[in-house]
């Protein structure tokens, strides 16, 4: 296990270098000049002042030097200052991250608690009306874009019925419901479908037949044996859906005015505040990579078949 962890960590190094390089490089495609944006509000500023600022920020250096400096900053938590507010980027990001994490954790928990029973029910009642109803819901959820779901929920639950507040305020459970529900609908649809498929496969296995033949109650078979296999599926799904969840939060936070990093990034793009965007992309990718790493390690730990292949000594 130890050697496996070390080898997986080593594999991260080139990936992280690649992520940071591409993120930094991406911002070189922008047509705007950083210093011009900074002095946009200040009216006319002489070219000497701008040149001095460029030299101060190191913008007159070659690309690779700039990248090296920036990378050292990423590693030490100093990613420069926002062009507009002048706040330190790393702190701005760290301030907003808890709200996004709150939204993500609530949606993931909601998804697991909704999708697991639905997936199992659909599998147990395969090709009966309950299965068809669940499958239809999961299909519809899969075909709705999250921004449409968000607007529909706002319209029906908040504006028409007045049940829940529209604007999000992190920390208040009332306001997390609608954005979390939005993210849950798309994710839950995928989870339900996958859990159903895995359950169907599992229910056909000989040990289930054996248990049935011995007269073990169906309920006991489900809870004691089959349910365990869904745990591994849920971990796989968590790792897989993390990518779309991280992207989804940007859209959902913007719609619900949820004060997280996703909304911060979208706002930063509209105001061309590139240091904030860089921080957002790099840190979101690092979170994504880490979640996938943890999922891999969890597999390793939970599934004896994977473990024996991994070279446990």
């Amino acid at each position: 296990m130890k050697s496996y962890v070390i080898s997986r960590l080593m594999q991260l190094v080139p990936i992280l270098i690649g992520i940071t390089f591409l993120t930094f490089g991406m911002m070189q495609f922008t047509a705007d000049d950083a210093v011009d944006i900074m002095y946009e509000q200040a009216g006319s500023v002489s070219e000497e002042v701008k040149a001095a600022k460029r030299a101060e920020l190191g913008l007159d250096q070659p690309f690779l030097v700039q990248y090296g400096r920036w990378l050292a900053g990423v590693a030490s938590g100093d990613m420069g200052r926002s062009y507009l507010s002048g706040k330190r980027v790393f702190e701005a990001f760290a301030d907003k991250l808890p709200a996004t994490v709150e939204l993500m954790v609530v949606s993931i928990l909601l998804t697991i608690f909704v999708a697991t029973p639905l997936g199992i029910l659909a599998a147990v009642y395969q090709n009966r009306w309950l299965d068809y109803v669940i499958r239809t819901f999961s299909f519809v959820g899969n075909s709705l874009p999250n921004f449409f779901v968000a607007l529909l929920l706002i319209y029906f639950l908040a504006l028409r019925l007045g049940l829940l507040p529209i604007m999000g305020r992190p920390g208040d459970w009332h306001s997390v419901v609608l954005p979390a529900l939005t993210l849950t609908i798309a994710m839950g649809a995928k989870y339900t479908r996958q859990i159903r498929a895995v359950m169907l496969e599992e229910l056909e296995k000989p040990y289930v037949m054996g248990a049935r033949a011995r007269g073990v109650r169906e309920y006991t078979i489900l809870t004691k044996s089959v349910l365990r296999s869904t745990l591994i599926v849920i971990i796989t799904l968590l790792a897989l859906s993390m990518g779309s969840l991280l992207g989804g939060t940007a859209i959902v936070e913007t719609i619900f005015m949820w004060d997280g990093v996703g909304k911060m990034a979208v706002d930063a793009i509209l105001t061309r505040d590139y240091p904030l965007i860089q921080a957002y992309v790099v840190w979101m990718s690092i979170i994504y990579v880490c979640v996938n790493l943890v999922a891999d390690l969890a597999y390793h730990y939970l599934d004896p078949r994977v473990r024996s292949c991994g070279g446990e000594s």
Binding site: P14, I15, G18, I19, L22, T23, M26, M27, F29, T30, A31, F139, V140, N142, S143, L144, P145, N146, F147, F148, L151, L152, I154, Y155, L159, M242, G243, S244, L246, G247, G248, A250, I251, T254, I255, A265, V266, I269, L270, Y274, I277, Y280, V281, M284, S285, Y288, V289
Partner: protein, 275 residues
């Protein structure tokens, strides 16, 4: 053989027909719109669905039905073109990597690892923003992050067929690397790549519309479903039909292509048939 093929693909027919209707609507959109989708009529602004404007009008009094029909052209053409570019470029790279192996393979696969390490929409939002918005730039952002998935799939498929006896035979008959790729590798990996692409259409449509919704894709006044919804966002309470019309259009289109993708996968995968 033919009758067997017919039977296998028969379940596809209704879904192909539905997708065909959507595609024909997109292609002939300019001839199908009851009104000019760009003509403003401020006196008739924000009227709810009625006999003249079946889906109502937006805040500039433009007919929503006409804009939804016109939007099908923008959204679908862009999405399908994007998918074509991603799938063909990705499989091309993947096939070469799988067939040639060596340093090129290692380099390109490490590169694709890096792209796969980004959350797709996070990258696309930032890249589209850096490029400055616009439908073309939004599609370009999605293309840059989208191709590695296809490269992965194509490489894996190429590796499994590379050692097949018919490949060996073709090589011994003197077929060069280019000929091998064109006449043996591509035809044999095309099926699974097509299935993946068919299953991806819905996602691509939603992602591209999502970027437009954030203001990073198609710009007003272009009739595009995501941009239309962005436009109607602030009037949700007073005029919900402004977002309902394009939203339902996205939903129905994505649903049709998702169903088609599922059925294509079932038809291509004999294992699924037995269930």
């Amino acid at each position: 053989m033919l009758s067997f093929m017919g039977k296998r693909y028969r379940p596809l027919v209704p879904y192909l027909a539905l997708a065909g209707v959507v595609l024909l609507t997109a292609v002939f959109a300019p001839f199908l719109t009851p009104y000019d989708p760009y003509v403003q009529d401020l006196e008739g602004a924000l009227s709810p669905p009625n006999a003249d404007n079946l889906l109502g009008t937006d805040r500039y009094g433009r007919d929503l039905l006409s804009r939804v029909i016109m939007g099908s052209q923008t959204t679908l053409c862009a999405s399908l073109l994007l998918l074509l570019v991603i799938a063909s470029f990705g499989s091309f790279v993947g096939a070469i990597c799988g067939y040639r192996g060596g340093k090129l393979d290692i380099f390109l696969m490490r590169l694709s690892d890096v792209f796969l390490a980004f959350p797709q929409m996070v990258f696309a939002i930032a890249a589209a923003g850096a490029l400055g918005g616009g439908l073309f730039n939004a599609a370009a952002a999605l293309a840059v992050i989208g191709w590695p998935k296809y490269a992965r799939i194509a490489r894996g498929l190429t590796l499994t067929i590379r050692a097949m006896p018919y490949m060996e035979a073709a090589r011994m008959a003197g077929t060069g690397p280019f000929g091998m790729l064109v006449s043996h590798v591509f035809p044999n990996i095309a099926g699974p790549v097509l299935v993946t692409a068919a299953l991806d259409i819905g996602t691509i449509i939603m992602e591209l519309a999502g970027l437009s919704f954030l203001g990073l894709g198609a710009q007003p006044p272009t009739a595009e479903w995501g941009a239309m919804m962005n436009n109607g966002r602030s009037m949700l309470q007073t005029a919900p039909w402004v977002i309902l019309a394009p939203g339902t259009a996205i939903f129905l289109t994505v649903a049709i292509f998702n169903l088609l993708g599922d059925k294509i996968r079932d038809a291509m995968d004999p294992k699924q048939l037995q269930k």
